[in-house]
Symmetry: C2
Subunit: 188 residues, 2 copies
Amino acid sequence: MLRSDITVAIRDAVMHELAEVGYGRLSIEAVARRAGVGKTAIYRRWSNKLEMVLEIVSDVAGRTVPLPDTGSFAGDLQLIMMIVSRALQHRIASQIIPDLMAEAARNPQIAETLQKALRTHQQAVGEKLVGQAVTRGELPEGTDPDLAVDLILGPLYWRLAVSRTKPDAEYLEKLMAAVTVALRGSAG
Amino acid sequence: MLRSDITVAIRDAVMHELAEVGYGRLSIEAVARRAGVGKTAIYRRWSNKLEMVLEIVSDVAGRTVPLPDTGSFAGDLQLIMMIVSRALQHRIASQIIPDLMAEAARNPQIAETLQKALRTHQQAVGEKLVGQAVTRGELPEGTDPDLAVDLILGPLYWRLAVSRTKPDAEYLEKLMAAVTVALRGSAG
DNA sequence: AAACGGCGGAACGCAACCGTAACGTCCTGG
DNA sequence: CCAGGACGTTACGGTTGCGTTCCGCCGTTT
């Protein structure tokens, strides 16, 4: 019944508004203004700000990134780092993600949604990545998948989302080498 | 002339308010209420919200953490990781830091202040840490201090501020080992 | 004793926002 | 051609916050 073009416009407006002012200052009015619709159109679809944002964000985040399976650990690693650094350099994502992370620290509902949207998936990626590599003999048995994920995502996230400096190709190579060596050598 | 006990009360209130609602929803009125002072007392000290927050935060952050100098790379590393994980587990800090990080993405003034407060200092730590280790022969020459910092802070920050799971002693040991191996083996 | 100045408190005009209720419009089916 | 329903838009009262101004209080300085 609800006109889908309007729903799309609202979803779009929420993402952009979220990026510009953050969750804390997100207002329904501003969303409506930007989407070119009335506030009622929004309230007919969601009952409040939190519900609206959570539904929209988890929908976007839920479009699962495919699990890595390039045939070699180095390839998988490179692929993951490419995808993550792409994602974290995306203008909108790079503002929304840290913002919601911060918000999650004080809103359990947001925290839970983000956990579902991000952590669950990343855990799966970590386990698959490490599992495959162990099977192939590229990593020692007993390698901790969680540690692997932290070692891969941590530095990237730190650099891209916190220091906000662009990593060049050389840096990425160094990081890849470091992570590889770290995982190969620390579990034995 | 300004009563210092009142200034302290305001500073304290700002930090707590910042942790509870974030920068986006921080209101002068709430700060005054919490501090038990009149708004006038605040406006007499700072001319607006941004200036107030920046001054207070950078003051707190500016209390420089001492540079590591325990005599061995392993010791320095452990010390740094202890300090950082302590800091990031602090109730107030763990909420304020991600919040301001996110805010910095859209407010250049905040970004600049945080850069000064955090990045400059961390760079110094990284250079000292790596420099000492290289001199001692614990790390190969040409080790990238920036990469080292990213490898150390990234995973810790990711785990503590993003995934929000407490790292146990075992995890920290693994991480230390991984970082050590990574830096030792990847620059050659 | 008198002047000074920071203090809390109250109120101001202004702006933004919330959530709702009344309104007008468009589409559909009879 | 019209009735009915679902829609988006407009208008509204109420709240919150900003930054400012004025007031009376009180401790300090001169």
